[in-house]
Symmetry: D2
Subunit: 242 residues, 4 copies
């Protein structure tokens, strides 16, 4: 019998990326026919300064297409209830995920960390969350872990009896971890970030579940590294995808 493991985090690894702030500029400038790339360092510096202005103009006025000529591929590990929300993003997103039909899923399940708020207030669509007391934290841990362990035990029992993986997995909770490759571009990524993070400076407020926001925050870090001017403009203009 496998040992069930518990995690309270998600992991996001950048597998590959291509395209920078300058690619945004190049694509945008073809509309006026000035899309050549600078070749010496002075031109480059001047170019980055102009780039900043142009990117902010594009973001502010919601000219979105220049932000599509780039790519980020992530390898992400997260519970199934996060993937359920993630895969609602259809446009500019590509997915390949671990399959419960083809392999035995590993006994790794999500439990909230102590700092994860457990109690909701307010109404659907605009919940706020507060920590909950120690008792609530304790019983949540106990309940979840108990179900996870029993479910995984039955899962392995069924597999051992020759039942197909795709049938046996029906008993597994949505907190079990799954892995996927996710590919997107800066435009679809910004759409994801605008909906899956909660920020005071968002022009349109979002109320994501904390666990998908944990994924989004790591994706945003990579975005900031790879395309700093674009990411800054995204934040400046209210976190609205152009």
């Amino acid at each position: 019998v496998s040992d069930v493991r518990f995690r309270s985090d998600v992991s996001v690894e950048l597998i590959q990326s291509v395209g920078t702030d300058l690619t945004v500029v190049q694509a945008a400038r073809i509309s006026t026919g000035r899309d050549s790339v600078p070749v010496d360092i002075d031109d480059w510096t001047k170019s980055m300064s102009e780039a900043d202005g142009l990117i902010r103009f594009l973001m502010k006025n919601r000219h979105g297409t220049p932000f599509e000529h780039n790519l980020f591929t992530f390898r992400i590990e997260a519970p199934i209830f996060v993937w359920r929300e993630f895969m609602r993003h259809r446009i500019g997103f590509s997915y390949n995920e671990e399959s419960g039909r083809y392999k035995q899923l590993e006994p790794v399940f999500y439990v909230p960390a102590r700092e994860r708020n457990l109690v909701q207030q307010g109404k659907a669509g605009a919940y706020t969350f507060v920590p909950g007391n120690e008792a609530q934290y304790g019983l949540t841990q106990d309940s979840l872990r108990r179900v996870y362990e029993e479910a995984y035990t039955e899962y392995e029992f069924l597999l051992g009896k020759g039942i197909a993986k795709e049938v046996a997995r029906m008993c597994l909770p949505v907190a079990i971890y799954s892995s996927a490759y996710v590919t997107c571009n800066a435009r679809s990524l910004m759409s994801f970030l605008s909906l899956r993070t909660k920020h005071e400076d968002s022009k349109f407020p979002s109320f994501p579940q904390r666990e998908i926001e944990m994924v989004a925050e790591q994706m945003e870090d990579y975005f900031v590294s790879q395309m700093p001017l674009t990411a800054a403009a995204f934040r400046e203009y209210g976190r609205v995808s152009p």
Copy 2:
């Protein structure tokens, strides 16, 4: 404490539809500027005969766009593990689903019926399935039902203790039912059917999980009713989406 219920079926209800075989023809004929619609009954009969020929031509040669000017909206009830596969269909599909963040999910879970094959043979990507013996059927029923009941009990216990719905639901198995509105058009529907049904006359064989195939079969029935010539041509030319 709620009574847990078990189902072995899925339900697909057609909420609305628009567009017929003749709409396909009309859209296709605009390329040659002959897209007017017949007004009297003789013209209509002649028109349907020409329609059949044109639709078969479009299907055979994979001219797909004329099949997009129509719509089907379904209300579907299926287990979450089916929805997980369903929502991988991104293009030409719209979804609104029940939310485990906003409401308490109902205690309805999927168990395989006796005729559902339980044992897989062959290798990943091309499994075949066989029934399994009585013992296997019995222990599958027992294991699944036991986990479902325990999980739902803990879920309600957590809700009763004031834990947020989005946290409490983490323990719920992927076999719990969920409902959604799904909108697609004939082209995206054919793409779905080609991948989510198993047919001897498919040019490209598919090996869907039985439960999503049960959804697909009901969708196909509505498709055949609404667009009989298109559906017939789809079948005639190897169930390849144009």
Copy 3:
């Protein structure tokens, strides 16, 4: 030799539509499991009042998917330079257009009406336009008509010499009219309207070419008729597609 004709308008005809404000509400309410449709008239009235509130909430908070379960099919006649802009709309739009490879294009060309502003001021991305004087209007008419007529004459000459339609058409100006079926849903339509109309109350200002705005205005009229609450909420919240 064919007589060349000139038009200064575009035409938009609604071929079919399905889905209303109530469909938006129904789709949205499935998230809380209250998606049943009212059956008697009192319920209906109450329902429309609730519908208004819910639709405005969805629009304000940019919950977009409930606006996708509906369809509009238009038959549109417009110059090719309008189609060039139109077909940049990729998501939620389906097209079938007249083909210059399969048929002889008709000798119908666009000329600006007297009220169409002819002179641009300001810089790229935020032009404003002013009428131009009588002389400018006159020479524009003369120049455009002269080229159209000469081009169409050469086109027919080449066709008469046995040159393929797809080759002969190379000389035709982008002002020649073409027809297409266009299918979209309320969400993709609102995205189109937000970019292709210029309004003082737009949260994000757009600067469309006047001729595509003429198409957009007619599409918006149909939208207002078919989904009045949705259209009103779109306008109220700054003409931002949800």
Copy 4:
């Protein structure tokens, strides 16, 4: 007055790309949880051999998503009548194009080369083309060049009179060149190639206009260089996009 120039070619330059055959394999293997990348050279060789088998399996059985985790950005120069066909490709394609609203278009127009077939035979949807005689070639050149020159002359005349670029350009023929950045992935590229090239070994025959096929052929060369196993499998299994 500008000198009008004539071209009979198209140009396709690869600006950037990321992702290889091995990325396809990695993405596909996550379904079974074996997605790690080889680190030493022996493993690499073994890996490429396995990769070939897996890629051929994916292609044959139309498992398309593993082919989406990669990107090609091209800078393409082609006549507008080619762009009109190109931009019908909506899914997995991003575009930024030169704008006739923001800049004066350059006086460069397409004329068929001597080897371009000028005369069509057969019926719509399945034309074949034959060369045409010397007289036909000569008069095509003369007619097209004459219209292009007159149209561009009027265009510059109108610009000189202060008419807005977006109005003056209405007289320009669809053979004028335009430039664009085009980004796609291997899956969307294969869909493009299957429709925009004519090959004897295509399972579903296509009849593209020669000029867009010239673009497609250059794109295919880059594809073969960047992802040789994928490109070979595409050809082996009938040039059907997976």
